[in-house]
């Protein structure tokens, strides 16, 4: 009896147990899965843009000359052209949607609003020298559905609206962005939230649900990652968009990094310098895949459904899947993950003891 109690208290702790955690820690310090997703992808071969070469050093005179020619072409020829086009595009969008917004609600208004949105969107895509390949157009999002895509930059929205009309969801901004938002919402039922409202999740869900229930309304465009990721992986999808109901139309967007880096590192660059960098790249080349629509199954909860959609998008776009939250870009990781690690270790410790193995010297890892 006493021996059994003694066995219960006995557990196999070894000094060498810390080696495992130590090694994991140092491996994470040298390279980890998550933080590398919040900075631009490194290219194997240089594309003549200094910004994409982290370990830039001088190679040869000929390469430098080629690079200088590239700089001249990009900054002095392409940039003014693109800037002019962008200005035309934005102005016509504001003017066009304001004009259409004056019309009474009806099919004429919807038709004209679609025309205006599509045209201006196409002008803006040309302004970025965008070459977009759309695949599987038969799966394009229908009215009353929710379109879900991976997020790399603010340009994602323009790239998708180039091919169809969506109702956007987003925060109300100030400045030029705010002017555009106020103008477009008159013509088309976009859903713009005040900053304070986003915090109230039920209000957000309620408004989106109302929008989806109306089958005549345009599909909603949502980026469930919540933040920009560098287009090499898809991070955790926030479950809020998947609780609304309705049909989900997943879309995978993959940029070709050889022509320009589309990722917006918002902690490093503000929107203006980001747009400048985009407009001085060679081009924006990307592939857009429309995936078949998905509906939540009976026994699936929102989280599982979100993961299923995410897997489909990642597989199609050739991106890796990470279970980490994109919010880790700015916020600290939750303690629950550490507690999980501790729980796993404790289980191993106590389990060894209850099996009754007397001190084993080496632990097989």
């Amino acid at each position: 009896m006493e021996k059994e109690i003694a066995l219960l208290h006995r557990a196999d702790f070894e000094f060498s147990h810390i080696f495992y955690f130590c090694r994991k820690g140092f491996e994470a310090i040298v390279e980890d899965e998550v933080t590398q997703r919040f900075s631009s992808e490194e290219l194997l071969s240089w594309n003549l843009l200094t910004r994409t070469n982290v370990n830039f050093h001088y190679i040869s005179l000929r390469l430098t000359v080629v690079w200088v020619i590239g700089v001249i072409v990009r900054y002095c020829f392409l940039l003014p052209l693109r800037f002019t086009l962008a200005a035309i595009g934005i102005t016509s969008m504001i003017v066009g949607t304001t004009v259409v917004g004056q019309l009474p609600n009806g099919s004429v208004k919807n038709y004209l609003s679609e025309v205006v949105h599509l045209t201006c969107s196409r002008i803006l895509v040309r302004a970025l020298s965008g070459t977009i390949h759309y695949h599987n157009k038969e799966n394009r999002p229908q009215k009353g559905g929710i379109c879900v895509a991976n997020h790399t930059s603010p340009i994602d929205a323009i790239i998708l609206t180039n091919d169809g009309c969506y109702a956007m969801v987003g925060q109300v901004h100030g400045g030029l962005m705010g002017v555009i938002q106020r103008a477009t919402v008159k013509a088309c039922p976009h859903v713009w939230f005040e900053r304070s409202e986003i915090k109230d999740r039920h209000l957000v869900t309620k408004r989106l649900r109302e929008h989806v229930a109306d089958k005549s309304k345009l599909p909603i465009l949502i980026f469930p990652e919540g933040t920009c990721i560098n287009n090499t992986s898809v991070m955790m999808f926030k479950k809020g968009s998947f609780e609304i109901g309705g049909t989900i139309y997943p879309v995978a967007i993959k940029y070709d990094p050889q022509f320009g880096d589309a990722f917006w590192n918002s902690s490093k660059y503000n929107i203006v310098s980001y747009l400048l960098r985009i407009m001085t790249s060679w081009a924006i080349v990307c592939n857009v895949w429309y995936l078949p629509p998905m509906v939540r199954k009976e026994d699936e909860d929102a989280v599982k459904f979100a993961n299923r959609v995410r897997s489909a998008i990642a597989r199609q776009g050739g991106l890796t899947e990470l279970p980490w939250d994109g919010g880790l870009k700015r916020a600290k990781v939750k303690d629950t993950f550490k507690e999980e690690q501790q729980k796993n270790y404790s289980k191993m410790l106590v389990r060894n003891g209850s099996v009754g193995s007397l001190s084993a010297e080496t632990e097989s890892d």
Binding site: H9, R10, A11, F13, E14, F15, S16, H17, I18, F19, Y20, F21, C22, R23, K24, G25, F26, E27, A28, I29, V30, E31, D32, V34, T35, S39, T50, V54, N55, F56, H57, Y58, V68, V71, I72, Y75, C76, P80, S267, W324, L328, K332, V333, F337, K338, E339, E340, Q341, Q342, K343, Y345, S346, K347, L349, V350, S359, E361, T362, E363, D365
Partner: protein, 225 residues
């Protein structure tokens, strides 16, 4: 359109200047900047490694160092390390981070960073027969064990006391094991390893307990993939 022939020489001069401006901005400063600090560090780091480390390994670690350095002042603080999610959820994360910072300091530069990482370099076969006269490399078995010993021994008195062992155990198991059970685990571990009967583990006893463990393999990481 923009450069079509005008008879205006100032206009043409103006556009030429405009064309050269972005060039000059890019050519100075940042365009070549990545090379300079690296050259400085490349010479420093060689002293930590018994054999020469490849340039690409140092480059890789330097670019990792700069990407972690959000403040861009050439040093890392504890917050910079805690921003790595996989390290933040590691139960021993805080101790590992502390190992980088010398006594009482809050910043570590690239030299210090490499120095601590050097402990985890794998031991190559050709190093084992190197000259015995030089200083012991940081990634020798003995130094790896010393590094692990220092993770336990917080007050640096060269002994792991029962309290210090309990602290590490508590970090690793969280709230999942009761105090009594943890205490008895600690007592048993010390009892088995302690040879001179002072209820604490000295470095020699530590080495003896781990003599059959493959320390070289368990305390090594690959620096490059």
């Amino acid at each position: 359109m923009m450069f079509c022939g005008t008879e205006d020489p100032f206009g043409q001069l103006g556009t030429a200047v405009l064309a050269v401006l972005p060039l000059s901005f890019l050519c100075t400063g940042r365009a070549w900047g990545a090379e300079k600090p690296l050259a400085r560090h490349a010479n420093l780091s060689l002293s930590f490694f018994s054999s020469s480390v490849s340039h690409s390994q140092i480059t890789r670690l330097y670019s990792r160092f700069t990407s972690l350095d959000k403040g861009e002042n050439g040093t890392l603080s504890r917050e910079d390390f805690q921003r790595i999610p996989e390290l933040a959820i590691n139960p021993l994360g805080d101790r590992i981070i502390n190992a980088f910072f010398p006594e009482g300091e809050d910043q570590v530069n690239f030299r210090g960073f490499m120095r601590t990482l050097a402990h985890f370099r794998p031991i190559e076969d050709n190093e084992k027969s190197k000259d015995q006269n030089g200083p012991e490399p940081l990634n020798s078995r003995s130094n790896k064990l010393h590094f692990a010993f220092r993770l336990y021994d917080l007050d640096k008195d060269d002994k792991i006391s029962r309290d210090e062992l309990l602290q590490v155990l508590r970090m690793m198991v969280g709230v999942n094991i009761s105090d009594e059970q943890l205490g008895s685990i600690a007592d048993r571990t010390i009892q088995e390893a302690d040879q001179d009967g002072d209820s604490a583990i000295s470095f020699a006893e530590f080495v003896k307990v781990l003599e059959k463990v493959d320390v070289e393999q368990k305390m090594s990481i690959r620096f490059l993939h």
